[in-house]
Symmetry: C2
Subunit: 261 residues, 2 copies
Amino acid sequence: MCQLLGMNSNNPSDIRFSFAGLMQRGGNTDTHADGWGIAFYEGKACRLFLEPIASAQSKMAEFIRAYPIKSQIIISHIRRATQGSVCLENTHPFSRELWGRQWTFAHNGHLKNFRSLALASDRYTPIGSTDSEYAFCWLLESILQAFAAPPDNITDLWQFIYQRCCDISQLGPFNILLSDSKYLYAFASTRLSSITRRAPFGQAHLKDCDMAIDFKQTNHENDVITVVATEPLTGDENWEKFADCELKILQHGIVVGSYLA
Amino acid sequence: MCQLLGMNSNNPSDIRFSFAGLMQRGGNTDTHADGWGIAFYEGKACRLFLEPIASAQSKMAEFIRAYPIKSQIIISHIRRATQGSVCLENTHPFSRELWGRQWTFAHNGHLKNFRSLALASDRYTPIGSTDSEYAFCWLLESILQAFAAPPDNITDLWQFIYQRCCDISQLGPFNILLSDSKYLYAFASTRLSSITRRAPFGQAHLKDCDMAIDFKQTNHENDVITVVATEPLTGDENWEKFADCELKILQHGIVVGSYLA
């Protein structure tokens, strides 16, 4: 299994505080030591950093933790390999182009018999051997088959993605973060939590290392930032747990769509 | 215009020495200050670092210069924007999946009327607005239309890529580095040089900064490494200039295929 971290905000923000906590779970406070990755969106593309080693021991992860890359959509993942060897091809987030935008995907969970999701074409072919990348390819192919272009009514797309996520979660735990560069999609079949931070900002302490932050010092008055994670990263804030099989769609720091059976 | 740097080797090697020279041309010894990027292959995928700022002023480029990422195929690029604004979407190398492998592409040159290369489908859609990414999409679509899967006779693919590169170069200077994770393709319509280093290794001095290396100290006896660049990076070695419209295909550090009109 793995752990996820996502961020969506109305103004470009950095994720150094949250990432500092997550990277400790990659081989230090937890066992997700088989790779890590992080995607920072800028416009329709993203910068993607991947490394098939433990984040807690990575000089690159340490550099990213200290380098203030600002973005409105960030997706990060630390891996404990369950399907597929430990190598770059199997390191999340995965990325593909659809509709002239870069889509990015990371998964926590374990899908049995995942090839029962039939890939009808070679439009999206897995590069590695994980259940996760396979499911991502299937999801994108399904979207493209249903929508040759982004639908006029965006909620048609949201509803479609929700249904496909429910389909996939029949095969096993499917907690994911997905982005098309405009929205952050967070689907939990079993386990995700989120918190939205806005004025009046308070303080928070990371659970995984001795680090605290005063968000009043780091944010502007009008900033709205939502963080999504497999497990809450701070111990002194009220994280909200997703319901089972709930999809939340985030834009500009807030939930703009939500689907639940 | 831009500058290219590529490396291919029989054993995983790092490119810190050459990259140290190239990054100086991104805003210091030369004017290619509109972005930089570098791709390091591992297996069928690559790690891609991109930043739409001057490499000579980038802390990330400085980190990469000092971080020994070893790879057998590396493609790097520094950009001076001629078509398309300065942003992440327009930063080389570009990357797409084909046949379950990650392909990567960087371009030096300037193509006029590049949309005369008709994209027959949306299989590869540009994310940014450069002539370069457009030509890459057209090239991959052309390959896929001709070969649904990698051909049994790989030289059929090489010949095809050579012909398409010649086609594109009708529109303007088209000096490129391309990789499918197995081979490094270097095509020069006007300007590329290369050097192959092998035992007995000597010393070399970078032209762009006060830095020298003794390859005897950094390489094993059996290492064979070819470096390709827009302009020679060292002043005391014999770089070989490509002929106009020459394609060289490299694997394991040596030229395994070569095409010339």
